[in-house]
Structures are given as structure tokens and as C-alpha cells.
Symmetry: C2
Amino acid sequence: MILRMSSLFVRTLRDDPNDAEVPSHRLLVRAGYIRRAAPGIYSWLPLGLRVLRNVEGIIREEMDAIGAQELSFPALLPREPYEASNRWTTYGNGIFRLQDRKGGDYLLGPTHEEMFTLAVKDMYSSYKDLPVWLYQIQTKYRDEARPRAGVLRGREFIMKDSYSFDTSDEGLDRSYAAHRAAYIKTFDRLGFDYAIVKATSGAMGGSKSEEFLAKAEVGEDTYVRCTHCDYAANVEAVAVRAPAPVAYDDAPAAHAEQTPDTPTIETLVDHLNEKFPREDRPWAAGDTLKNVLVVLKHPDGTREPLAIGVPGDREVDPKRLEGQLEPIEVESMDETELGKHEALVKGYIGPEVLGEASASRIRYVVDPRVSEGTRWVTGANVSGSHVLDLVVGRDFTPDGTIEAADVRDGDACPNCAEGTLESARGIEMGHIFQLGRWFAEALDLKVLDENGKLVTVTMGSYGIGVTRAVAAIAEGTHDELGLCWPREITPADVHVVAAGKDGEVFDTAARIVEQLSAQGLDVLYDDRTGKVSPGVKFKDAELIGVPTILTVGRGLADGVVEVRDRRTGERTDVPVADAVDHLVGAVRG
Amino acid sequence: MILRMSSLFVRTLRDDPNDAEVPSHRLLVRAGYIRRAAPGIYSWLPLGLRVLRNVEGIIREEMDAIGAQELSFPALLPREPYEASNRWTTYGNGIFRLQDRKGGDYLLGPTHEEMFTLAVKDMYSSYKDLPVWLYQIQTKYRDEARPRAGVLRGREFIMKDSYSFDTSDEGLDRSYAAHRAAYIKTFDRLGFDYAIVKATSGAMGGSKSEEFLAKAEVGEDTYVRCTHCDYAANVEAVAVRAPAPVAYDDAPAAHAEQTPDTPTIETLVDHLNEKFPREDRPWAAGDTLKNVLVVLKHPDGTREPLAIGVPGDREVDPKRLEGQLEPIEVESMDETELGKHEALVKGYIGPEVLGEASASRIRYVVDPRVSEGTRWVTGANVSGSHVLDLVVGRDFTPDGTIEAADVRDGDACPNCAEGTLESARGIEMGHIFQLGRWFAEALDLKVLDENGKLVTVTMGSYGIGVTRAVAAIAEGTHDELGLCWPREITPADVHVVAAGKDGEVFDTAARIVEQLSAQGLDVLYDDRTGKVSPGVKFKDAELIGVPTILTVGRGLADGVVEVRDRRTGERTDVPVADAVDHLVGAVRG
């Protein structure tokens, strides 16, 4: 395949588009890969479409390789299945809705759980039919509040979405593992620098959930990773390692002390160091136990108070808290509501009045660091008074633990003994998770098991952002000169530049181009004549980012052409006669 | 590639779906290729998607072969470009419209003239950039009033649409010819029995327009074709061959005669035969000239009378008339309006009072058969009176001709001397036409010509219904047993049936399947065990329609397997050892 710059539908731009914030967006527009049609909606020009198809092809190969079967659902979907799953309502204004000429309600599919579930229900009825793994590569729609960064977060975008269907949890584990392995192969081939990040599984709770994040400064997702091992997790999914139980046999008995005017951790610590100095080390915020009251708003509208105990040097991170409780929403408890609980003394709330068995009957959950045998200074439920040497498991027992305290750089790694956590940013490229039986129950997908009994099917969900992948690869591989594609997804294998005016340059270039094409290589040939200078052609080649650039120009007088590696910048003079072999070698490795 | 029936996501149905009217729809659903998601909206299951991708692949190859460049526009489109072309309004309720969360107006693209035009405007500025041929294979949406026949007329469907951009009419002719040739290759490869049918070009008028129709009883399009030559045309586009001028030197002078009570052609002919009998042959309706008055409704709302003269044995065909005048609409002239024209005597209107230069000033156009030198009996503009021997060119001269008379089986072919026309039905699979400068003018697409002057670009439009093609091929190739795919688009090359219970059958079948796959063939392998009988497997193979079926079964005792040609039904026993070579030969021809 030969693409000739003289006729290729592309125009490179010298200036950045006004609306482009991130390098991939700027470069994909400037190099003529994409054009904006509306906010978050893009046209794919020939070069861009070639890259997109290459990405799709890799994903398809790896999905086919594990035995997943491709099908294709519509993008325009009737309301009914989404009504059955309640997502017609819960999506809010995040989806595009429309009516047909008869007034029937439709949506543009943001994700197709319902359709996959119904398809399996339509076709299959027995455990013998399972497992089955189905996928599609399809255009999806979300009415994002803030579409941004070109095709990184668009409103019309392509996704590969697959679902696994099993009868047992063990089957789901196997299906999950197969998809995880396929994703690793896929992202390796796509040329990503990526992290596999533990994620929360939201409402489903407890089952496996991992995101594949492309490491990128411009990423919208923050995560933490270990400085030592390969642990990585969404902040929401970090599970603090609970300390081993501490013996408290020789711990002094708890004792309440007057601590006037210490409604904050800071004033309390100062007071402790002044009035109750310790010999071994001064009091610090981490010695205190802070009890935070919030209100849970359940989906059915009911409200419930919750008390959360965290070390005084930590904050409750609302994102982490909501990540644990989804779909429940969380509000802080205001003074009015606090006042209704007579047992609670603002600023001096202590474990004694918290917990389902206590006077307040408020459920009380604590950070895992507040573990058996640890000793704390905390509120005494009397204004201006705190309790010291309050021991967990001796003086009080919380109702449970919760991952709600904020995660910080330098925190111990939950996975290894050596490392600490550091935060990083990434772009979510893939998400695999165990969806479980939620949709199968909502849409009544059951099959007969070995004993002829109906059982609800359990599902896994596996997505890859395809258009987003193009931008993420561009983001991760570009340099200051332009795009810089990995070998497997480049729009062409070699970019041949005819740099000169005389016929010999063009004749030689054209001959090499034909020979490369005959060898099965895709060649982008800059055959432009007239006013297009070699300088302009070189700049375009750098911008467009084909990994290997061949220049046929001045060197011809000495019988050589120049091969340039776009990534390293390395230049090699090659005798004209060897050029084709050299290039085929460079491309095929 | 091996598809195993034991795990393939397919279930064949014994019964026809309730809503299926045409064979292709019934069979594609029963054989597990497609499933209905909503009226006119379908899901493509794995077998169906394979056929669809094959069709797309052929179209893409032939478009690439002529140098057309693929790109991809969004399906969700902003209102503005369609406002500029006025199609936001003129589409009426034939398109899906929606609003985003900010209240912005969008549509689901039914066709993308505006986007192609704007893309060229964005990228190109000089005649040197042209011609350029661009295409996409893309999902489109139309809110059809009556979606029907499965994917034959859907509301979400895939089209290949391309556009050519030239500066000159000659350039457009070349672009048109190249696309026409590519379409012929494409449809030949798709295995269609098709007709290339002249079509009207509507509002653009005069330029080339042809449809590629798949010949099919269930087709919605009627056309006529010659019994002798390859002429075919939409009824709207049939151009009647005007007779050569007839000498009228010795024709008698026109003479008005009393013809009381002859307001209809039938009564007139009876009267003529009674009172003015001819020696050579009796009077017939075709000897009379019938003048029909209509009212033209222009798009700007103005109304204009028009008189149409056709031989008395013909009717004015409203579809043909409107086809000539589009976008003007046509109404018949009612008595009230007729009464306003004093010169007109109802039932006896004659050419003398018609024409722009006449007393009525009503424009008068005639069927091409009403040609120079022909003699007619027609109204004398006096009640109960007709003129005989009225000669065209001697006694009156119409303002022009029009193709409005109905076309009938048996009419002379406009193209050859031998044939006559017969009507046929087809499915519109492709349409190529010279769009001209309409969109370029509406969206201001101009380029600099050789002299540095801005010229408006002229466009050609070339579409193929891709999903529709799958149905049309199924429609054209199925038989009473099921689907019957042409070689190039079949979902698999060979369907191998393991027909038996003993291990040897399955071992042999599996070995052959592996060998076929190793040779690069796609194999659908019916490896189902248990309760699935050979009879069920044979029926499924016939229904699914892979062109070559291999049965490994009883013959194994004699060392043979059976190769069956799905289309001809021909069966051949082949020694097991020769099976792979035989099948590869059958597939590769």
C-alpha cells in the first residue's frame, strides 16, 4: 500500500488548535489525523483511521485468540431493557436520549450490559452452553459534562466491550483470568507504558476489579503505586494493612482528663504536650482518634448516621468513603442534625457513645489502623474532656472497619514490607471486573444446571477504550517534534521523503517505494513537488510520526540514502542498492 | 479459523419469526445471523457479522483500488451544517433528532454530504488538490415510517458513501466513470444478479444518475428493462424515443367537426368510427391528443398552471411527471381553477388555446411521441367539437416536450430497435449520481483555479447499502432449504458435519478441520455430540448456507467422506485421504 502525500487527504498545521490542552490532542489535529465536528465528537481522517484500525485489529486478534466471539449490537437502543435494569433513570443526563417519529423512547448506548445479557438469554438455556465470552467493537455515546482532550474523553467514541457468562464463581474467576491475560498481551502490543491498578467494584462489592491505566501526566485518574513492588491501586481501592494485634496487658487503665478548649486535633496535641508530657516522644496527631460523623443517603431515600474513627493525622477522604459505600451517597452531618443526637458532644465525641449497641445507636466503623490493642487519646463525651490510654478491644469495640482515611505518598505499601506508596496519574484504557449476578437478576438470565435447576448466571465485564487508546498512545510516545508511533500501530511502515528537485531523486525514491510496497510494506511517500521544500517535508515527517523515515536527497551524489529512526533520531547512510533490504529489516525487526 | 458449533454463539430456529415477510429476513433470523432489537434495528450475531465484514471488505478493496480514500465521520452530528444546507428542515421527521445536556441540537446522520463538503473545504484550497475521492463505511440512521424486511430497510444501517470533488464537469464525468467501474466490480464480486438502471437526478436535473438494483421479487423499486438489449431504467427515468419527423406536405388541412357528447377519449373514438370512418384502419385512442391540465407548486409557494399533451391511449403518470419537475410538486387542476381560464372549454381543450404565446398563456408541453409532422384528433376549444388532421409543426407548436406519459410493458425500447420494455422489481443496492455544485454552493466550497480565480467545486455522490447488501444477497441466493452464500461472502469456506456417534467419526472430522484451517480456510465445524442427531446437523448446514458441506459419517466404513455443493446439491464421495485437497480445490476454484 502506497500513500502519496501529493494526493493523501491530509493537511498538516503549523499552529496548535485553540481548544487543545494536551499534547496528543494538539498533535493529532496538527498532523491531520482527526478533526473536531462538535464538542467531544471527532472525524477520523485517513491517517487517523489507519491507526484506529490497527488498534482495533490488535484488540480483535487477542480477543479471538482466547475464544471470545465478536458480534455487534445497535447503538440506537430501545428504552425497555434499560428500564428493566433501572439505568434509564440512574444514567441521569449522562446519556443521549431521543424519540422516534412515533414517540417511542430510545437512547444512544453508553454501554451494552443489557443487550449482551438479553442476547444470552435469547440463545442459551443450559449450563452446557456456558461459559461464553462475547465482545463487540462499537461506537458508543455519553453526554459528558466536560468532553476534553480531543478523543481522550469524547462523547462519541469506540469501545471494545466484552462480557463473560458463567454459572459459578469459579467459572467467573477463570473467565476473568483469561481476559486479564488477553489484556496484558493487548496492551503490550499497543506499546503502552501501563499499570494494572486495583479498583473498587462499587455496588457489587468484594469481587475482582482492575483498571489498565496508561501512565500519563495528563491522565484524569490518580492512583498510587509502590516504590518497591508492582502494587498499584486506585486511591479508592487501597486497602490499608491492619497492624498485628498489640498486647495490652500492662497498659494503664483509661483515664479521662480535663482538656479545656481543645475542640481540634491541633489544640488537643498542644494541650497534651503541655499538661501530660510523655517521656519517650511528644504527643502527635497520630496518637489521637478523631471521630467523624456523616449521613448516608441510601438509594431508597432513607438517611442513616455513621461515625468513622480515623487517626487524628488523617482525614476522611470522601472519594474513598463513597467508593466503599456506592451506590450510597455521603453527606457530612451538619450542626442541626448533630444536635438531634443528645449523647454526642461536639468536638469531644468518643467511642463510648458510638456503636450500634451504644446510647446513640450510631454505627461506628474505624480505620484498620485503629486495631486490637492500640491505645488512643479521644473524646470523653464531655465538653473540655478527653480520655487517654483508651485501648481498642479492651475499652471499646467498633462495629467494623472502613477504608475511608486518606492515602498519602509515603504510606506503607499494603502488599510488601519494603516499599511505600507514591501517587501517579494515568489514563483509564481498560477495566476488567467481576460484575456478578446483578444484570442477570434484573433481566432474569437463568440457565438449567447439572441437576435441572434454574441458576442465575454470573457475568464479567471487560472494556477497552479504542479511540481513547489512539490518543493515549500518542500521549505516551510523542516528543517535542511530533507524533512517534509504535511499530504495530503506525499508519505506515516507512515514510519516504523525496528531498530535492531533480528527476533522479524522485525516480530513485519512487523505485524504492514500489519495491517496499511489493515486499508488503505500507509506505507513506512524500512525492510533493513544486513549492514544498525539503525542510517542510522533514517537519511533516517528524510531525506525522512514522517510525522509520527514508530520505532520498543530496546523498544520492555519493550513492547513499539516509534512514532515520524517528524515536531515537539515529541516522544511517545506506547505499541505494541496500536501502530496501535495510528498511525491510528495520520494519520486520 | 475454526468455528465450532458446540460453542459458536448461534441457535437455529425451526419456526419463522412472526414479523418476517420476506425470505431473507426469515432465513437470516432462523439461521442465527441477526436478531431484532427494535423496529428496523438489528443486532448482528457472529455468523452475520462475518458476512457483513466480508461485504465491507470487498467494497473497501474496490474503493481503495480506484484510489478513493477512507475516512470516518461521526454519526452524531451538530445541527449547523444541516441548517446551512436546509436539510435540517427538509428532512422532516425522516431523521432522528436529539438534544445534548446543554440543549444543543443534534441529528443522527442519514447521509453525510455536508460533512464531506466541509472536510474538503477545511483541507483543500486549490484546483491542484483535486480531484479527490473520499469514502466511509459507516452506521447511518433514518427514522423510516415503515421499516421492513429485516435489514433490507432498517432504521440503523451501514452504508458505504463516497463523494468525488472536481473543478470541472469533465472531471466529474471521469470521477463518475471510475466509481461506476468500481461498482460493477464490487457487485460482480458480491454475487449479485443486478441491473444498472438509469435514474432521474431530481433537483439537479440533466446530469448522470444510475442505480444498481438487485433483481428481486420482494424489491420495493420497480423499473423497466429491454427484452433485447441491456437498457434498464427507473420508470421516472425512461426517455421515450421521439419518432423521426414525418413529412406532412400532402396532409389534409385541419378541420373542426361536430362531435357532440364526446368528453372522453372512449366516446370520441366511438363517434369518430361512426361518423368519420377511416378506410385503412379504425380510429383508436392513440390517434387522439389528450390535453391534461395540472398546477405546479413551486418550493417558494407560487402556483403555475401547466398543460400536458399525451396520446389518448396514455395517462399522465404523476410519479414520472414529478420526477421531471422535482422539487416542484404537482396537483391536478380542479374545476374551480379550470373555470378561471376563460379560453379553456372542459373536455374539448385544444392546442390552439394552449402555450405561452396563446390566449391562455398556459405553458404547453407534450409527450415526445407528439412530434413534428404527426397528425392528431384533439379538442377544438368549443363544446362538442374536435379538430381532425391537426399536424404538429404546421397547425401548432408546443412549448416543449416532457416525459410524463405512463410507461407500459411492450413499449418500444428507447435504446435499441428490436426490444420492448418489460417491468421488473429490484432492491436498490447502490446509487451513483452527479450531485453537481448544490452542496458546494450551500457550504461555500470553492478552490482557486489555474488563473487564481475562485471556482465552486462539483461533486459526485456514490452510495452502497452494506447491511442491505447482506439481505439482498440472501434474498437472491437462498433456496427452499435455507441460505446459500456466494463464495466471496460466506461466513466460512467449508461446513464440516461430524455425522455419527463413534470416536472415529469425530477424530477424522477434527483432523480434516485442522488441516483445512492450516491451509488458511475458515471452517465451520459441527462437532456437537449428545442428542444432536445427524439429521438436525444436516438441516442446520442447509439453513446456514456455507457453499461447501463435508459430511464425515457412515461412508467412513468404506474410507470415504461426502462433499456436497450447497447450491447444486451435487454430492461426491471422496477418499478420506483426498478430502483436504479436494475441498481446498473446491474453495479456491
